[in-house]
Symmetry: C2
Subunit: 298 residues, 2 copies
Amino acid sequence: VPSNYKVLFLQGGATLQASMIPMNLLRGKTSMDFIETGHWGTRAINEAQAIANVNIAATSKDKGFTYVPAFDTWKLDKNAAFVHITPNETIHGVEFYDFPNVGDIPLVGDFSSTIMSRPFDVSKFGVIYAGAQKNIGPSGIAVVIVRDDLIGNVIPHTPDLLNFKKHVEAESMLNTPATYNWYLAGLVFKWTKAQGGVAKLEEVNKRKAAKLYDALDATGFYINSIEKSVRSRMNVPFFLKDESLNDKFLKEANERRLLNLKGHKVSGGMRASIYNAMPEAGVDALIDFLKDFEKRNG
Amino acid sequence: VPSNYKVLFLQGGATLQASMIPMNLLRGKTSMDFIETGHWGTRAINEAQAIANVNIAATSKDKGFTYVPAFDTWKLDKNAAFVHITPNETIHGVEFYDFPNVGDIPLVGDFSSTIMSRPFDVSKFGVIYAGAQKNIGPSGIAVVIVRDDLIGNVIPHTPDLLNFKKHVEAESMLNTPATYNWYLAGLVFKWTKAQGGVAKLEEVNKRKAAKLYDALDATGFYINSIEKSVRSRMNVPFFLKDESLNDKFLKEANERRLLNLKGHKVSGGMRASIYNAMPEAGVDALIDFLKDFEKRNG
């Protein structure tokens, strides 16, 4: 993290940040640009609309959130307070692997499920926020990385606990922090270092995702419709071509201790969550099962 | 909890509630009554003042927060949106053991450090809130008990995550909840039942507090200036008459594994936190040390 940024550990998860961002970043402006590439982007838009005007500068809703609109098609407002993106949409399984240059307007990213899965350039962003419960620790806290010039301009009636400046001054201890969650996050940071750090985990994550997508793409028995260049390395949603086999698939997977493969209620189908905590052997076991299940039912 | 109340488990602790209460309970009114009996009441007042007008209907600041102003001296505003009290002020060690009748105006109580220490009548209150980190579980979540008629009237621009109605509709799962904190709170609830429930713990808490205050009052070597009828059973602040002995006292206490006796930075002196989790034997050990230290230094 560059020296002109502050790192905060706050209670409340990422969804609360979707309200805190407008409260802290409007700075007298009246509109915010959002790029909508899936469910969580839509949630963030809904939260922000309670505070001020939202301009949806680009959306991939037309094709079921299966791609990222090309940067040069984004209809950015040069008076916007900020541009908000969701680099990894966990439900639809869409991930940004590089980031646009949006000029002087602060770029804001909800990195909940992509943070610590790979290195990235913080200096491209005004604010990065992330719920802890993917690659950091237990749910209940959020990490916020905010550039110094964006601290200290809240809208009227902002509670202290939603004010970045108050949290910076109190070093994230404005109220009793979620101490046990912090402690567990600290253990995960140590574990991450012991694995060789984020760059090393990225190598593993690339391998895990590549072999799983290869298996899903092999025959058409399984389906993942996300554009290949923006497929998530952390959450791999997929469908059985014959959805009448869903229950059987989940039952047999459970019997092999391949757990929680049922897709998010928003999307249906299946979902393999392969965050940092999932070892490569777990992905290998899933691939074996995918092939075996297909052989017996294909 | 009566059937016309909802119980919520929310992220953010009690201090966030000090903002959520005005946002949810103003209901078109313009002023709120607060009773100030210590540090946390003052904090709640500061948070509420960011939202609307605060009338301090009674305060014990004149005597260093050592008493609770008699109910009949409270200058209540009959048009107030609610009356806010802090039944247990943990830093000053002042506790309410009964509650006033404030007519049709909802009574709101920050029960952070008194909840589950003894039974009390929820029906006297419009809203009860409590940070978990005393008698419920780890810090990072708050319990909110809100009467049905006070749900659904937020002020404009209230974020969803600060809106009681949204949390009620989502059964406290509006966003990913603090799952591990919930799990640990569940274990504490089971433990509480195994102890015989809150009524049984009250008996123990009364005994623990009575014998500790007796020891502190015995000779004048130790000082607790709180009016006897409102002394906290959970947090017992005290001072050595000769404060030059403070460091020696803390060093020797630590050597006996009597930990965290140093007072809150706001008040100085000493503080014995004797929440439900502190067994009676722990209080007995502290009393033995108090007597022994006095004998050698008195």
